[in-house]
């Protein structure tokens, strides 16, 4: 993967050094402790192929990063929902290596001034400066993690293709390759997996395309080689292993909405006041900690994104 050097960054965007160093120090201590604790464990044996990752040097920190402690690498890479590889949380770590991610290209098309194109991964990523974004991730199943993503703003990518005024939404598709993605041989969801964002949501600086985690490229079970991360929405909105980006005029039907429309909406913003019809969203279990914690409105990103939904009834547009 082609990694570009960062240009200058505004001082306002830089996390204070003290905070950043503390975080780094914590990461080192924590990952060391975790590696020690995991030695000889089952999880260690389930996935030992971390060697496939390439390191990503010279990352810029981001003012959008949280100072909360990131989850251990092993938690992030062995507890995944990626139904393309099976329904069990351990299935992606077990089977995602069967997916080929090189070569990779992304079809970009739809309501845009630039011609539709199959863009090779390197060409897609080349113009962008990679940052570390430490985000909270809240799953609709009421668990959460903190993940040190590496990526760049989705909006910067979309602007390159010059969406027209008819482009109201962006629609994404995951790779469909049943012979390499065993979960797609069953019909748990309607394949390929589809997600979408309103264009202004997609342009929000919090929404990123992630290509790495913990200083290295993504593992397949995390949605390599590139995935969406929308931290104020439930995890299933952050579509993995993207092969298609379309600018569309009408609101796309996302896969979970197609599967169970009364339980999963298009917006799926994290909202402790709007419960899933069958379970509460008021609290969550942060993986790795014992006490349940209260879930925050927009997963704690209300300052950045609440204005996107001014005047909308969030119970109706769940």
């Amino acid at each position: 993967m082609l990694i570009k050097q960062a240009p200058d960054i505004r001082s306002s965007e830089i996390t204070p050094e003290r905070v950043y160093r503390n975080r780094r120090q914590f990461l080192q201590t924590a990952s060391g402790a975790v590696a020690g604790a995991m030695t000889g464990s089952l999880l260690g044996r389930v996935h030992g192929a971390a060697g496939a990752q390439e390191p990503i040097p010279d990352l810029q920190p981001s003012a959008f990063s949280t100072d909360e402690a990131p989850n251990a690498f092993d938690d992030i890479t062995t507890y995944n929902n990626f139904y393309e590889f099976g329904l069990d949380k351990g299935d992606p770590a077990r089977y995602a290596h069967e997916m080929t991610i090189d070569p990779w290209s992304v079809r970009v098309e739809g309501e845009m001034n630039r011609p539709a194109a199959d863009v090779a991964l390197d060409d897609l990523l080349r113009p962008h400066t990679l940052e570390e974004r430490i985000y909270r991730l809240r799953c609709v199943e009421a668990w959460s993690m903190v993940v040190p993503w590496i990526g760049f703003p989705l909006g910067d990518l979309l602007k390159r293709f010059e969406p027209t005024s008819k482009a109201k939404y962006v629609r994404f598709e995951t790779l469909y390759r049943p012979d390499e993605m065993r979960g797609q041989r069953g019909r748990s969801l309607d394949w390929p997996y589809v997600e979408g964002l309103r264009l202004d949501e997609a342009m929000n600086p919090l929404a990123i395309i992630a290509v790495g985690v913990y200083g290295k490229t993504l593992l397949n079970q995390q949605g390599a080689p590139l995935r969406l991360v929308v931290p104020w929405k439930y995890g299933f909105k952050s579509i993995k292993s993207i092969v298609k980006i379309q600018f569309v005029e009408d609101q796309p039907r996302n896969s979970w909405n197609v599967a169970i429309p009364n339980e999963y909406g298009f917006y799926s913003n994290v909202n402790p006041e709007v419960d899933h019809p069958r379970w509460s969203q008021a609290s969550e279990r942060r993986i790795g900690s014992f006490f349940r914690m209260r879930t925050q409105m927009f997963n704690g990103y209300a300052d950045q994104v609440a204005s996107l939904y001014d005047g909308m009834d969030l119970r109706r547009y769940y």
Binding site: A37, M38, G40, S41, L42, L43, G44, N71, D74, D75, T78, Y79, L87, K89, G90, E141, W143, S188, L189, A259, I260, D275, R278, W279, S280, A282, S283, R285, I287, G288, F290, F291, R292
Partner: protein
């Protein structure tokens, strides 16, 4: 092997699922979300033991292997044991006694309601499982009370069905087995009325309830 000699072995066997959990706890095998793992495992074993206990009588009647009946109480009590672990995990580990959140859950979440109803049904069954209690209640009353096991098992399957995100095959599998075990009872009941009890064919008179129970 006599029943008396077999019982400790069966007992130990029933503890294997718990042993596996403990072993996994010490080897880091409970996944990134250990509380969820323990909850799911103990829930699964509650249902399995309920179904095993409910399979004893049909199996005995089909095979004529009466020795099976000697283990029914143990299987039933293990169902209660795993149900207690399941509920304790939820109350202690998951919600850490946040009673307001739990009460909210029991009332508002229908899958929690169903599970809780199932658990409450099992309590009188466990309490009246001793030989002394059977004698005190009398066989007929005791048997009538213990039909609650059917309700508990149905509640357990419904509890599971209502909580899964999308793949309803596992709860449906439990449901199918349960339907089979309940269905065969209905069939036995019918067979007993028409053939075991010597009611003349085409007779309009019904067998007495005592004979049919």
């Amino acid at each position: 092997m006599s029943v008396r000699r077999a019982k400790p072995w069966v007992f130990a066997f029933c503890l294997v699922p718990l042993g596996v959990l403990v072993w996994r706890a010490f080897t880091g095998g409970l996944s990134a979300n250990p509380i969820e793992f323990i909850t799911h495992s103990t829930g699964d074993w509650t249902l399995r033991f309920l179904l095993i206990a409910l399979a004893v009588t049909p199996l005995r009647r089909v095979s004529g292997w009466t020795v099976l009946a000697s283990f029914r109480r143990m299987f039933g009590l293990f169902a209660f044991f795993y149900a207690t672990l399941h509920l304790s995990t939820y109350v202690v580990l998951d919600f850490f006694f946040s009673i307001d959140l739990i009460l909210d859950d029991i009332v508002e979440r229908r899958y929690v309601t169903a599970g809780f109803v199932g658990f409450v049904m099992l309590i009188p069954l466990a309490v009246t499982s001793t030989t002394r209690m059977i004698r005190r209640l009398g066989g007929a009353r005791w048997r009538r009370l213990h039909r609650l096991a059917y309700v508990a098992a149905v509640a357990g399957v419904v509890h599971y069905l209502w909580l899964v995100k999308i793949d309803i095959r596992p709860p449906l599998a439990y449901g199918a087995v349960l339907a089979g075990l309940l269905g065969i009872r209905v069939w036995f009941h019918y067979v007993k009325r028409t053939s075991v009890v010597e009611v003349p064919r085409r007779s309009t008179s019904r067998p007495t309830t005592a004979a049919a129970s």
